[in-house]
Symmetry: C2
Subunit: 406 residues, 2 copies
């Protein structure tokens, strides 16, 4: 938890990963992020994995450091409340993140009518409003067709929802950028960020789209080979696997030296009339000749032998681990200052992350937990909308809002 965005008050009405991770990043940088949930929780409130007490580890992971207000969003009075929260007055308010549809009660037009300079960041599926999720965008853009080994034609979906998380970070960047523009007189705006555009632009931004259009060919699936450089997984003595990459000449030389492959590589260079250190693509072009030499060298060595030599020489490598194995790596979790302990709704005690960034020399503090659903209902109504306790009580009585379960 840092205070870079201290004072900003962001209202979030969003489910699943992209929208909530946007709010998470803002909250962990010090913004006050108020999450609106429908009474009893939205469609992601019981999303798996669940703890034994029924709380969602998914929800509590994505909603850390936020406040929670529960509103019956099916009723006109509840919808009006949500609109008023999204457009609350004040220089540092009127900042709204949502994945609600373009049309409807949280449309930009409705919000703008209440506050002319509202900033609304809307995460979407397809740009035209059709539903899409990370999984379907991934299939539509061709990534599963590029993933996996050439000897198996099945498409392979990514296991980590990358488009969702890129969208979340990019949405947070968009909101803070739009707030900067508003503060210096630029007014408000609606920013739409479809997962489909995040994916399409990302695949273009490192040259892959241009390559496919230029060559008229899809990039073939090539297992764990790193495109355009030397990199692959190799089995070591005992059967475990390592991922090794040499993009720079320095990494390449370090690898050869550690594996004592210099002579064999020199012979191969003479035979082929190339210099592998000259450019990483030379190593890629001749990778089928290189691999057997490396396979043999790795098969003779254990991690215990390789690790210190690799570290000393600056080789870029890692053992393949499962997440369970990685979880026992204290430098990543238990002793990593990015993680700490927090009283999450699940009651489980596990390493909880604060922001991924570290501000050197600034106190980081403990990571803030996710709220209990509805824990901040009354406070938010009083502070953002200036409601009296009598007005708030009436809303409770009418079932328009709800607090945390007693």
């Amino acid at each position: 938890m840092y205070d870079l965005l201290k004072g900003l008050r962001v209202v979030e009405a969003a489910a699943f990963i992209a929208g909530p991770s946007c709010g998470l990043y803002l909250a962990q940088f010090g913004a006050e992020v108020i999450r609106i949930d429908t009474i009893g929780g939205g469609p992601d409130f019981r999303r798996w994995p669940l703890a034994e007490n029924g709380e969602s580890l998914y929800w509590e992971g994505l909603n850390k450091a936020k406040k929670s207000i529960c509103i019956d969003l099916a009723r006109p009075e509840g919808r009006e409340l949500a609109q008023r929260l999204a457009t609350a007055p004040g220089d540092d308010r009127g900042l709204f993140v949502t994945n609600f549809p373009v049309e409807g009660f949280l449309s930009y037009e409705r919000l703008k009518a209440l506050r002319g300079d509202v900033i609304c960041v809307r995460v979407m599926g397809w740009a035209d409003g059709r539903p899409a999720l990370d999984y379907t965008v991934n299939a539509a853009l061709g990534v599963p067709s590029m993933t996996g080994f050439a000897d198996d034609p099945r498409p392979v979906n990514h296991a980590f929802p990358a488009w969702d998380f890129i969208t979340g970070a990019y949405a947070a960047l968009s909101l803070v950028s739009a707030e900067r523009a508003r503060r210096i007189g630029g007014g408000g705006c609606e920013v739409r960020i479809p997962l489909s555009d995040i994916a399409a632009t990302a695949l273009a931004n490192f040259g892959l789209l241009a390559e496919v259009l230029m060559t008229g060919q899809d990039r073939p699936r090539q297992g764990n080979d790193v495109y355009g450089a030397f990199g692959r997984d190799f089995a070591i003595k005992g059967g475990r696997r390592l991922m090794v990459v040499a993009i720079t000449a320095r990494q390449w030389r370090a690898l050869l030296q550690t594996l004592e492959l210099e002579e064999q590589i020199a012979e191969l260079q003479d035979e082929l009339g190339v210099t592998f250190a000259a450019h990483e693509a030379v190593r890629y072009q001749h990778r089928e000749r290189l691999y057997p030499l490396f396979e043999a060298a790795f098969a003779r060595r254990t991690t215990e032998e390789l690790a210190p030599a690799f570290e000393a020489a600056g080789v870029c490598w890692s053992e393949y681990r499962t997440l369970g194995e990685a979880a026992r790596d204290d430098s990543l979790f238990a002793r990593n200052p990015v993680f700490g302990r927090a009283s999450q709704p699940s009651g489980l005690d596990y390493p909880v992350p604060g922001p991924a960034a570290t501000l050197i020399g600034k106190p980081r503090g403990a990571p803030a937990p996710a709220p209990v659903l509805g824990a901040d209902t009354d406070q938010v109504l009083a502070e953002l909308l200036g409601m009296s306790s009598g007005e708030i009580a009436k809303l409770h009585d009418a079932g328009v809002v709800a607090g945390a379960p007693k």
Copy 2:
């Protein structure tokens, strides 16, 4: 190109994807981003894929909308110039993005000595400074062990460098957030963002780490099944495959209705004593019973039959396509306003993306191309450091800086 960040002057000294994509996102939101390259280009300047004229489609994709200055970074005079650019005076300057090592001539200490409130966002591999790339972080965190099918034990690397791109967006968020804090009196700071912490926090942020620690079990690889809900790939008549997901009850009902599976599902519910619409996890728990019904229903239908019915009902789906097939989808590329034409150094004519976000009602303009290496050397030295043409000429003569090739 939008002008949300107009006036900000960011200096970037970074290679590969994470750092340069941070600068790209800032530039496409209107910041002036000046990229420092060593004379002749850094380690990513000829990274594959290449165009026929030898220009890197990778580099020109990642460095769009930036300015370029070439400095001999091996020489003390060149290093001093880089330090002075990173710490140039002015309210909207002193903003630096890099992947150079923590120690060395671009250390925070060196920069801070020149400008006390400099903001330095440093993208790293491991948090302790050891080298890591997207591929090795991925292996170390266990994602390739979760990816792919249960009948094949090989680890499967992701084909898209997700950690790099999340890091880039998060670094851009960090820089704009830190600039906000500085403007209201918070001073400067060094922000370190290791790929390893981006990956570790992301895997924790949607409950996966907590699940693994709670159960003591890794999540098994399960092909293209969506965890905790109904979702998988299915072959349709003719052999192509679709990805279909039903997380919400509405998506589930739409899917059953379109596939005319309501009766069969009702029978299965009676047999199992469950209600599939009640929670997506019920569908996940009994997925092995559900799949055969869906397999049969899909195998009888073509995309031509399914697509209009799916769209009308609001089913969340997509055909699996290759990127080459997706590239012919005009709504994604050729007619997508997010893409346009730009005079890239490669000379190729292809759809080039601007920012992934769309500000409704604001003119987007054409996407700005990447610079020719060194094209802005003189202008940057004059504007940021106030150098005279005589001083600049001396630097050229001494080989400390270089401009674009004539």
